[in-house]
């Protein structure tokens, strides 16, 4: 069967990992934020900011890694705004998050128009090129998929390792986890809940922005309006799919990306039999099914979306 042969093709797995990379960054960002008890629906807008800032920094003459840092900083700034509104002020996290998405997206488009008023098509940059790791990239199937990607993809995987290690093996990670379960207990230890939550939201937002930057600096080499195209919302679902655990969330991101890479290829094999819309739906439908199967047992952070007021009972 042709449909099955696709799965044995190395280029399919390469594509799956490539599609997964921006999702991995943003999912880790959302995960950190939610583990600290703050839902961040600003993700879609923050990814847009990251995509623009990273790309524009390089276009304006900065280095690629400098662009990534600039994107992260811009993301963190919006994270601090979201954090300020939801943590010390205790506003609705849903409403604030949507507001951040709208603000960040519009500000990005506005800045774009101010900075590039007279262009016919958005300028291109020299994006990250794939870098094959010697020996490892020669392993059949897995080699090209995991070890012949761009440096940003490697960074995505490293980020998962750091987040997992940080959350479960460091005092700061413990504080983040507890602040999402029982903030009063953290306060009792003399640690500021506000500080931990703000820091978690800012760090998470920085990662989301790098996820956005991946699209303009690695997957593609130019910035377009609306190019995030709902990827941020997918990451919200991936955090739930991963039961708020970095490893499982990584798996979810790769699974979703694999479905996406698969449907693109299936469209070529069976496109004359089934309407193309069905293929485009496929990754989402399969993800919902997977979500139902996996997330029913998920235990969400107990203090998620509950603002903490010091001294309040």
């Amino acid at each position: 069967m042709e449909a099955f042969e696709i799965l044995l093709n190395a280029s399919f797995w390469v594509a799956a990992i490539r599609i997964a990379s921006p999702l991995i960054f943003a999912t880790m960002g959302e995960l950190i934020s939610e583990r600290a008890g703050v839902l961040n629906l600003g993700i879609e807008g923050i990814m847009t900011v990251g995509a623009f800032v990273g790309w524009f920094t390089v276009y304006a003459g900065g280095g690629l890694w400098f662009g990534v840092c600039a994107a992260a900083l811009a993301g963190a700034a919006f994270g601090l705004l979201h954090g300020f509104l939801t943590v010390p002020l205790g506003l609705s996290q849903h409403v604030t998050g949507i507001g951040i998405t709208l603000l960040a997206t519009s500000l990005t488009y506005f800045s774009y128009r101010l900075l590039l008023p007279e262009v016919t098509s958005p300028p291109k940059i020299e994006a990250f090129a794939p870098f094959a790791i010697p020996v490892l990239s020669d392993i059949p199937l897995i080699g090209p998929a995991l070890f012949a990607q761009t440096p940003l993809t490697y960074l995505a995987f490293i980020t998962v390792g750091i987040v997992a290690w940080g959350l479960y093996r460091t005092p700061a990670g413990l504080a983040v986890r507890v602040v999402g379960e029982n903030p009063a207990a953290v306060e009792a230890q003399g640690i500021s809940v506000t500080l931990i939550r703000m820091a978690a939201v800012a760090t998470g937002s920085a990662l989301m922005a790098i996820g956005g930057a991946f699209l303009t600096m690695s997957a593609f080499n130019s910035f377009f309006f609306e190019m995030i195209n709902g990827r941020g919302w997918i990451c919200i679902a991936l955090v739930v799919f991963g039961s708020w655990r970095p490893g499982k969330a990584l798996l979810g991101a790769i699974l979703f990306a694999a479905f996406d890479a698969y449907q693109i290829r299936l469209q070529q094999v069976a496109g004359d039999l089934v309407p193309y819309q069905v293929f485009l739906m496929l990754p989402y439908i399969l993800s919902i099914l997977a979500l139902i199967a996996v997330a029913r047992r998920a235990t969400y952070p107990k203090a998620l979306m509950i603002p903490y007021q010091k001294g309040e009972r």
């Binding site: 280029s11 016919t120 593609f220 070529q268 496109g271």
Partner: protein, 342 residues
């Protein structure tokens, strides 16, 4: 205009002011003002996408050219969402613009209602529908550049070696479909048994996704891509295969891989409308024909870096068909159905 040189130097500085100001300054010059027709037409455009988008960029370009000539004053709103479209249309109508251009593919009913409410203004809108009697001031256009797409297909047919062509589109709407069909008809002139992989990504603005889809088609054997979306030509460039452009000429960005492009020229459409509004003869018509090759509405981009690399046989057929299209002895079929993989 010969008086230009004798004008004092500050005139050139004045040209740096807003184009509208410059246009009125020129009108004040003696010799140009000659009756009511000389007044610059007030034109407003409403786009649902940024002016960078290929399709809209052609309209924007034609409008700016008309401004340069002093024919019109031009203002525009970009990235107007469809649910806000009617309001913006009304604002421009209320402000007294003579001609309002735009794209109403998704807001057809609301747009026609506005046209009814402002019968004195002319509306020229990109639309998948035909002109109607109840809106005599509402004309429609679309990029009917199938002539150029067909010719680019002939070149593609000559250049593909394994006769397997990948095509990535946004959505299968008439405007996209008819160009794909014309392109495929062109390819078949050179390679009658060519196979086509057709995919749609369900978005107008997702170059990374378009690129991934193009990669998948290359993996499945395509050695030439039809680039309807941004991102496709990038995939072709990375894998070192050829691609054919659409609506705009992108060869400058991909000198090694973009072999041909079918260009859309909005100028004949807009200029006809401007003339008719000035004459007072603007009515509900289908301006689609002004995108046809015989009106200069589309053309094949110069081969540029591929000069001499396309087989003579193909270029001979292109020249032959181009002449036949222009004199009307050959008509490229207009097929709006959704193309399928073969």
């Amino acid at each position: 205009m010969s008086g230009n040189k004798s004008l004092p130097a500050h005139f050139s500085r004045r040209r740096l002011l807003k184009t509208t100001a410059a246009a009125s300054a020129m009108l004040a010059m003696p010799g140009i003002v000659g009756g009511a027709r000389a007044a610059a037409l007030k034109v407003a455009a409403i786009y649902t996408v940024p002016v960078e988008q290929q399709w809209v960029s052609r309209i924007h370009k034609a409008a700016n050219a008309a401004v340069e000539r002093g024919d019109i004053e031009y203002v525009f709103s970009e990235s107007t969402s469809n649910n806000d479209y009617e309001r913006v249309m009304r604002e421009y109508s209320e402000a007294g613009h003579d001609l309002i251009i735009g794209e109403v593919f998704a807001v057809e009913d609301a747009a026609r209602q506005v046209a009814m409410d402002y019968p004195d203004q002319a509306f020229l809108m990109g639309s998948s529908f035909k002109p109607q009697d109840d809106t005599p001031n509402f004309a429609v256009f679309d990029n009917y550049i199938q002539d150029a797409s067909y010719l680019s297909g002939i070149i593609a047919g000559a250049m593909t070696e394994n006769a397997n062509i990948g095509m990535v589109g946004g959505f299968p709407i008439p405007e996209v479909n008819r160009l794909m069909h014309a392109f495929m008809a062109g390819v078949k002139e050179m390679k009658p048994d060519a196979t086509f992989q057709v995919a749609f990504i369900g978005s107008w603005f997702d170059p990374p996704k378009a690129k991934e889809t193009a990669f998948a088609q290359i993996d499945a054997g395509a050695d030439l891509l039809y680039a309807e979306r941004f991102g496709v030509s990038d995939a072709a460039k990375e894998r070192g295969i050829l691609s054919v452009g659409n609506v705009i000429d992108t060869q400058a960005d991909y000198p090694e891989t973009v072999v041909a492009s079918a260009l859309w020229h909005f100028e004949p459409t807009l200029d006809t409308a401007i003339t008719k509004v000035k004459e007072g003869s603007f009515k509900a018509e289908d301006y689609g024909i002004y995108s046809f090759m015989k009106y200069g509405g589309c053309s094949l981009a110069p081969l540029g870096t591929f000069e001499g690399k396309v087989p003579d046989e193909a270029m001979k057929l292109v020249a032959e068909r181009e002449a036949a299209i222009k004199d009307g002895s050959f008509v490229v079929e207009i097929n709006d159905e959704e193309p399928k993989s073969s």
